[in-house]
Symmetry: C2
Amino acid sequence: MNIVVMKFGGTSVAGTEKINNIAKIVKSEFKNNRLIVVLSAMAGETNKLQSYLDEFKAQNSIESDLVLTSGEQVTIGLLSAALNNIGVRSLPLLGWQVPILTDENYEKAKILQIDKKRIKEYFADYDVIVLAGFQGVNLSGRITSLGRGGSDTTAVAIASAIDAERCDIYTDVDGVFTTDPNIEPNAKKIPKLSYEEMLEMASTGAKVLHTRSVELAMKNNLTLQVLSSLTKKNGTFIIDEKELIEKEIVSGVSYSRNEAKVTISGIPDKPGISAKIFGLMTENNINVDMIVQNISQDGVSANITFTINQKDHDLTKSVIEKSKSTLNYKSLLLDKKVAKVSVIGMGMMSQAGVAEKMFKTLAKNVINILAISTSEIKISVLIDEKHTNIAVKSLHEVYNL
Amino acid sequence: MNIVVMKFGGTSVAGTEKINNIAKIVKSEFKNNRLIVVLSAMAGETNKLQSYLDEFKAQNSIESDLVLTSGEQVTIGLLSAALNNIGVRSLPLLGWQVPILTDENYEKAKILQIDKKRIKEYFADYDVIVLAGFQGVNLSGRITSLGRGGSDTTAVAIASAIDAERCDIYTDVDGVFTTDPNIEPNAKKIPKLSYEEMLEMASTGAKVLHTRSVELAMKNNLTLQVLSSLTKKNGTFIIDEKELIEKEIVSGVSYSRNEAKVTISGIPDKPGISAKIFGLMTENNINVDMIVQNISQDGVSANITFTINQKDHDLTKSVIEKSKSTLNYKSLLLDKKVAKVSVIGMGMMSQAGVAEKMFKTLAKNVINILAISTSEIKISVLIDEKHTNIAVKSLHEVYNL
C-alpha cells in the first residue's frame, strides 16, 4: 500500500471555497495511493484564539493548548465532508484519536509515538484520513500542541511513522526559490535540494518550511515536496544529498531582516567571559545567532559581536547593562538596522572561490561586511539593512542562479 | 464531598469579560462544595459552524458532530484559565476525557455511562472541573453531540451520575415565571415547581429549560435550580412534587405562537383512518401536537383537527393533498395564525372549577377556542394568534398569579 501525506496550511483552508479546492486536489492525487491529509486551522483563527488567551494571561498551558487546538477540529471536519460529497471515503481524526502521543511539555510538545498499525487499519474502510495538524495527546490524556510550524511537524512525523512514499507540503508558492522573487524577479524554482541545504535556507530566512520538520524528514530519510496548491506543477523535492546527481555549487541566496547586532567592547581577555555573556542570554531566553570574537588592538581586552532577533533588542540591552560590573566591559553598542544575507550550497566550502566571489561582489557594490559566519554549506554575512536588496540581487546574478 | 453542578449557556460565555464574570460566580459558590461547571460554546459560534456545514450539506454526521463540538473547547479553556488566575484550582475536560460515553447516534446521541469514580479522583488535585457541554464520545472513539439543549443534558447527566447535591442552570432571567414578563409585567418568579409542571411549561412554550434535561432530572430525583447569572438571587427550584408542601393550584401560564392548525373534513368514519393520517405525518417527520376528532353533523363522516409546528405547514399541506384519493376526504383547511395557550398546575384537573374558570375568562374576552387538549396538570387551548397577549394577561390575573 502506497501512502502519500499531503499538508495544507492555514491560508489554504481559510474558507469553504478553498476547502472545496483542496478536496479536488486530494481526489486527483487519489489514484494508486492512500492518502493522509494534514490540515492547519483557518488562517486568522489561531491568532483570534491566542488573543483570547492573552487577555487571561493563561499561565497553565493545559488551557492554552486546549484552546489553540480547537481550530483544526473545524477544518478537518469540513474537508472530510467535502471529500465524502465527491465520492472519496474520508475519515477525520484528531490528534488524540490516532493517537499522536507526545511528551508532557505543553505549547511545544515532542512526538513520542504514533500508532502505525491502527492507521493502516483505517485504510480498510477509508481512502483518505484527514488529520488535525499541530496537536497530540500526552500520557495524562491532556491535549498538547507542537508549537510553531506544528502542522508541518505532524505531516512529517506521520509520514515517517507509516513509511509514506512522500510528504507533500502545499503552500502558496511553487516551491523553494533560488532567492526571494519579491526582491529578484529572475529567481527560479529549485527542482531538488538536499535536507542540509533546506535547513540552512530555512534558518537563514526562507520561510517556506520550518527547520524542525526538515530535521525530522532528514532523520527518517523521508522525501519532502514543497509545492503550490494553486498550480499543478511539480514543486521542490527535498531529498538525501546522495540522490542529488547533478548539482549546482550554490543553490540559493536567502536573507533575514529581523536581525540586531550587539557589540561589547573592551572586555578583559580571560577564559570564561564568553560563557558568562551567553549564559546571560540563555537565562533570559534570548537566541543568539552569529558570534564573532576578536582580540582588540591593545592586546589585553577583547571585542565580542553577536546577532539576536530584533524583538529581543531592548531586553538584551537591559540585561547586559545590568551586568556591567560583572562583565567589566568598556562599551556596549546595539544596532537594529542590520540584515543577514546567506549563500547556500552543498559542499561549496570545499570549492575554491565561492567565498571570495561573495566578498568581491559585495565590495564591488560598496557594501560593508559587519560580520561573517560560515558552515560546510553556507556563508552568512551581516550588512547594513538598507543594502539587503542590492546584495541579494547581485549575489543571485554572480552565482548564475 | 458535596458537589454542585453549575451550567452556563452560550450568551453567558460570549466574550472574555463575561467569562471573567462567571469565574467570580464560581469562586463565590466554592466554599464547602466541589464544583463541576458545564459550558456551552460562545453564542453565535455554533451558528457559524452550522453555516459552514450547511455549505457542504454534510451528510456524514461524524463530520457534523466534530465541527459542532469545537466551540466548547475554547470556552472551557478560557474559564479554566480565568479560575486559575483567581486562585481556584481548575481543570478543563472535554467529553471524551471524562469520558461521557454515548451511543452511536450522531447529532442526537444518548448518554450511556459517565465514569463517576474518575471524576471524583480529579477532586484530589482540583477544586473545580470545567466540562464541555453538548458532547460525548462513542465506543468507536468518535466525538458525538447530544443535540438541542445538549449542554443542559450534560449538566443534569453528570450531576445525576455523581449524586450531586444540586444542578444550577444559569440563564439571563431570574428563574421560571408565572408567565412571560414581556406580555404580563406582573409575572412573578415561581420559587418552587415540580418536575411535571416544569415539563408541561417547557413543552407548552416556556423556553427556559429543555424537556430532555427535566425528564432526566426527574428520573434521577435531582434538584434543579434555574437562576440568573446577573443577580445573586435564588432562582426557581425544580423538585419532586412530594417536597412541595404549600402549593398554588395553578403555577403558570405559557404560550406558543409557532403553531399551525390542520383541519381535514368529511373523512369516512371508519376504523384506521386516524392511523393512516398520523402514519403519513410520522413518515414525513412532522410532529403532531394537539389532536381533536369529532363526528360531523351528517353522522357518517368525521372531522379531524390537529396542530403542527408552523415550519411544517407547507410540507403537511402537500403530503395530505397528495394522499387525497387514499384518505378520501372532502376538504382540507390549514391555518398558520393560531397560538396555543396553556395553564399548568400540579393536580389542578382534580380541582373543581379550574377548567371552567379558563373557558369563562376566554369567553368574557370574546376569544374563540379552536381546540382543547388536557392532561393531569395542564389545559391547553388553541386560539387565534392575535388574541395571545390578552389571553395570557387575563388568565394570569384570574388565577391570582
